[in-house]
Symmetry: C2
Subunit: 248 residues, 2 copies
C-alpha cells in the first residue's frame, strides 16, 4: 500500500493553506530552481510526476507546452487540479507515480517536484521514466537533500539555550531507507538515499547528468521568510537534471 | 605562493610514518574506491596529479600502464618517489599541480588522489585536465567530502560527556572557500566546495559524469581500524569519475 498522506483531511487542509499562502520553501527555493533547469517548454510534451493541485502543469501550459499530463496519488489533489486547470491541453491521472502504466505516449520533459523522497523503489521509477521519455528527452526532479534526510532522528538543528541554531546534526548517511517524520500529521514516511545513489542510478539507467542544483532562497524569499537564510548553512533540496542518453 | 605542507619537516615525517604504516584512511577507504573506478590500465598513459611518494604511479606500472607521469608540489615527496620507482616507464615533476604546463603530451587517464581540496582554482584545474586528456580519456579524483569540509569550525564529531560520538555537525555549506585545520601542524589550508560545484564544473568543462562514490571502509579496514565504522555515519571522501566528452 503506497503512502497517501495528501488524502488525510488534516494534512490536506494544512498543506492546502500553506501552498495557497505563496510563502513556502517551494515558492522561494525549489520551484525557481526547477524552472531554471528547464530551457524551453514551447511545443513540448510534459509529464509531471506528483503534480499535486497542478500548479506546475499550468506553468507549463502558460509557457506553451503542447500537452501536459499530471499524475498524483491523491484524489483530493487531482480534484483540485482538474478544477483549477482549463480543459484542453492537460490531463490528470490519479495514481501512485511508481505504478503508472503508460504505453501509448512518450514525453519530451518529465518533471517531479518533491515527490521522489516518498518513493521506495527509486531504481524502478528511474527505469520507468527513461522508458517514458523521447530520445534526447530530459528528466528534472527535486527531492529532499541527503544532508536533510540522512539522520534517523529528523529534527536536526541543534540549538543553544536561547534557541539559536548552532549547527545541523548529520548521521546515518549510508543507512538508506525509511525515515519517519511528523509533518502536520504523525508518521510521514520518506526515503533517504545518498548522493551517489541518486546520481549513479540515473547513469546506470542510461541518463547523462546535465546539472545538479542545491538551491538557496531567492531574494524575495529572504524578505518574506527570513529563516530561509539558513539554506546557506545546509541545503534543504537537491535538483537534478538528466538527459536520456543515446547509448544505454 | 602555493601551500606546501608536505615539505614542512614535522609534517613530512609524521605523514611518511603514517602512510608507511599501511593503516590509513587511504589504504582502506580512498584507494580501493579510486582503484575500483579504473577499468583497465593496460597500455594506457597516466598522469597522477599530487602523486606523493609515487605509490599510485607504481600501482599503474604494475597494472601495465605504458607510461606514468607523477606531479607533486613537494620536493621531499618527489625525491622519495624517484628512489622508490624503477626507471623507465615513469617520470616525476616537482610542481604545484595547478601550474603544470605540458604541451607535448596527452593522457588516457588522469587521476588525483586527495589533492584537489588543496587547490583554490578548481575550475582552472578542471580546464587544464580536460586539455591534457586524450579523446575519451577519463579523469578520476578523490577529495574530502563536502559534508566534511563545510563547517568552518572543523572538528565536527559532537560527543557526549563520555566521548561517544552523538552526531556530525554540519554548517556553512554554501560558503565555499578556505578552511583552516590542524593536521600534524597548524594552519593546513583546504578549500570547501559544494557537491553541485564539484559536479557542474566538470560538466561545463566538457566532461560526462560516469560515477560518484562515497566510499566506506573495506572489511580489512574495519578489522584493523575499528573507528572506520563511522564512515557509515558520514562519508569522509567523495570519488568522481568523469569522461572527456566529444561535445563541449
Amino acid at each position: 500500500m503506497k503512502q497517501n498522506i495528501y488524502d488525510n483531511p488534516t494534512f490536506f487542509n494544512e498543506y492546502k493553506k500553506l501552498r495557497e499562502s505563496g510563502i513556502t520553501y517551494n515558492d522561494f527555493i525549489e520551484q525557481p530552481a526547477v524552472k531554471s533547469a528547464i530551457s524551453c517548454l514551447e511545443g513540448k510534451t510534459v509529464l509531471d510526476l506528483g503534480c499535486g493541485t497542478g500548479e506546475f502543469v499550468r506553468y507549463c501550459l502558460e509557457n506553451k507546452a503542447s500537452y501536459v499530463l499530471g499524475v498524483d496519488i491523491s484524489k483530493k489533489m487531482i480534484e483540485q487540479a482538474k478544477i483549477k486547470t482549463e480543459n484542453g491541453k492537460a490531463d490528470f491521472i490519479c495514481a501512485p507515480i511508481e505504478d503508472i502504466n503508460i504505453t501509448d505516449q512518450k514525453f519530451d520533459v518529465i518533471i517531479s517536484s518533491l515527490a521522489i523522497h516518498y518513493i521506495e523503489d527509486y531504481d524502478g521509477l528511474i527505469n520507468k521514466v527513461r522508458n517514458l521519455l523521447n530520445y534526447d528527452g530530459v528528466f528534472i526532479f527535486s527531492t529532499e537533500h541527503p544532508i536533510v534526510t540522512a539522520r534517523k532522528e529528523m529534527d536536526n538543528w541543534i540549538k543553544d539555550g536561547e534557541g539559536n541554531k548552532l549547527y545541523w546534526a548529520l548521521d546515518d548517511y549510508h543507512e538508506e531507507g525509511k525515515r519517519e517524520q511528523h509533518w502536520y500529521i504523525e508518521g510521514v514516511i520518506k526515503y533517504h538515499r545518498t548522493i551517489s545513489t541518486l546520481v549513479n542510478t540515473l547513469i546506470t539507467n542510461g541518463f547523462k547528468i546535465e546539472e545538479i542544483q542545491e538551491p538557496q532562497s531567492t531574494s524575495e524569499g529572504l524578505n518574506k521568510m527570513p529563516k530561509l537564510v539558513n539554506e546557506k548553512r545546509r541545503p534543504s533540496f537537491i535538483v537534478i537534471k538528466a538527459q536520456k542518453s543515446c547509448v544505454t
